[in-house]
Subunit: 348 residues, 2 copies
């Protein structure tokens, strides 16, 4: 029922191959002929069938985007940026959700493999070896984890964690808890490593609570553990957990930041909406989405090229972090005025 290339050929009195070339190789066909063809195509409402094209060219002009949890506020900006960027280059995006499950993740890559030109694997829960294996089935770009031999885009979350710890120590905190993220997360390991090092360097104590699922509920659930740890500040794996923690502390009558300071990571839309507004490490998610698309489209063919893009993070100081018990000098209330998200908005 829908118009095919053959209909257009008939209507414009040329061979199908000419019609094809009128679209995909304009310089090979007479300007006049081409005009006729395009007119006829327009008339018939012809749109090329991408499946047929894919069958012969081997390129589908589709990209798969696999995330751990669409509803996690970290991902929508990334998805949005990737989709828009991809569409600008005439690619469409499959989006799929693994529910934080490595098994589902693998199944999804395999299922998508034949109908995409590549897959963007965001915050994967699989092992490196699993990922490497899958990369033989379909070009992969990994986001939020470096995988040896594969193109990847990561955020310099270690630097973010370091800044956060230094910020807290600077405020007078000597005993800090790290509210850990999910097992198997590279980001989590990275944060832990950097935070531990930064704490030791600064002469502070760091107690790790976790691993935990990266959810708000999980943040709330660890409130008692945090209190028991007797710390005066907490660095959470992400904003979601930080928010959950603040909430639970609030319920227990513990004041943030007066009694405990809390710092998140990601600078999601949430962080400006909580009371107190969340001090957090801004990660450039939209830029990551675009970069991942670019990498995939670049070496779509020359597979197994190593390439690692590292995006910078920065500390956004708001209201959830305040002076600790060991403050040595400086004004009473806070070291720096709140930036009110300015930093995160100028960041692109």
């Amino acid at each position: 029922m829908p118009a095919t290339i053959r209909d257009v050929a008939r209507a414009s009195g040329v061979h199908v191959s000419t019609v094809s070339r009128a679209f995909s190789a304009p310089h090979l066909v007479n300007t006049e002929t081409r005009a006729h063809v395009l007119a006829a195509a327009e008339e018939l409402g012809y749109r090329p069938n991408r499946a047929a094209r894919a069958l012969i060219t081997g390129r589908t002009h589709n990209i798969g985007l696999i995330v751990a949890d669409i509803a996690n506020p970290f991902f929508p900006p990334l998805i949005k940026a990737a989709e828009s960027h991809a569409r600008g280059r005439d690619y469409h995006l499959f989006v799929a959700d693994t529910n934080e499950d490595a098994g589902v993740e693998e199944e999804l890559v395999l299922a998508l493999a034949k109908q995409v030109d590549g897959v963007l694997l965001c915050s994967p829960r699989m092992s490196n070896t699993q990922i490497e294996q899958l990369s033989r089935e379909v070009p992969l770009v990994v986001v939020n984890r470096p995988v040896p031999g594969l193109p990847a885009v990561v955020m310099d979350v270690a630097q973010g964690a370091r800044l956060a710890v230094e910020h807290l120590v600077g405020l007078g905190h000597r005993s800090i808890a790290l509210l850990g993220g999910p097992r198997g997360s590279w980001t989590n390991r990275e944060i832990r490593r950097a935070a531990t090092l930064a704490a030791r360097t600064a002469g502070a104590e760091l107690v790790v609570i976790g691993p935990n699922p990266p959810t708000e509920e999980s943040g709330s659930a660890q409130a008692d553990a945090v209190l028991r740890a007797g710390v005066s500040a907490v660095l959470a794996y992400n904003d979601l957990m930080a928010v959950g923690l603040i909430d639970a502390l609030d319920h227990r009558g513990v004041k943030v930041p007066d009694q405990i300071s809390v710092v998140g990571i990601d600078d999601t839309a949430l962080s400006r909406r909580t009371r107190p507004m969340l001090t957090t490490v801004a990660t450039p998610t939209a830029a990551a989405g675009r970069a991942a698309v670019d990498m995939l489209l670049q070496h779509g063919d020359d597979r197994r090229t190593t390439a690692l893009v590292t995006l910078q993070t920065e500390l956004v100081i708001r209201d959830s972090s305040g002076p600790g018990p060991h403050r040595t000098a400086g004004p009473g209330r806070r070291q720096q005025p709140p930036l009110d998200g300015v930093a995160s908005e100028s960041r692109e």
Copy 2:
């Protein structure tokens, strides 16, 4: 390079048609033969090429999902539910973002038309006639707007608006502002209609401010207009605008709910995170996503069947709504205890 059906046929010593049937019509092939074929396929890591299959069957097993703004917290739960539901039925989901632009929307439907079995059009900004026209190109299911002659799933947002207004009037408010949503939104018209009617019935005044873009910024931007209107309560088009408004009011030293009550719509994840927690109308977004997929898969073929699924909404009373100036009786602070989101969590 990747294994094709022919490789499997060769490896198992049968004809390709037998291999094909071993997968798609198991009852037509001998159990033993089938076992051989499946074993060979497994051995070779064979996965059928969906493009080739689509070419001949005419069904791609793909669905397009078009939303106005992925980053709007209303959509991720819907996307997530739709994706998971679709995948359970062996369908994959294209997700695309129109940036609230009707032109982009149309272009997207057209672009997707040939490579999907149908499109889920969420909160469209196009006109009904445009949508009807497009439905001749590809099966459509519309979400958040009824379109005559097309399957659609809507939320009974009118009822929600009514409940919200009655709630406010019950609290003693006699002058209420409606912070309107985007032009061209059916939901917006519906809310306006229902709110106006409910206000008149209850003997209260309703002043409409808008239309406005459905964003947080837009909510903030209208704070002065709200104050000028001299109302004691506001019903916002969605949570996002409500949150923006509360924020701006806070900046101006206006207390919510003491001086002005604010009610949102959607019960997004945000609403439990604001201080005060937002009183809002819960819309079943996940259920809507699933229902839309179901409708599309049901009458994928017998097009142009009218069918309208209406999902119920409910009022979730939290802390952003309080007594108004004309309270007649009852305890001082509030009429009902906050539900703390229980209602919205039990709702599925």
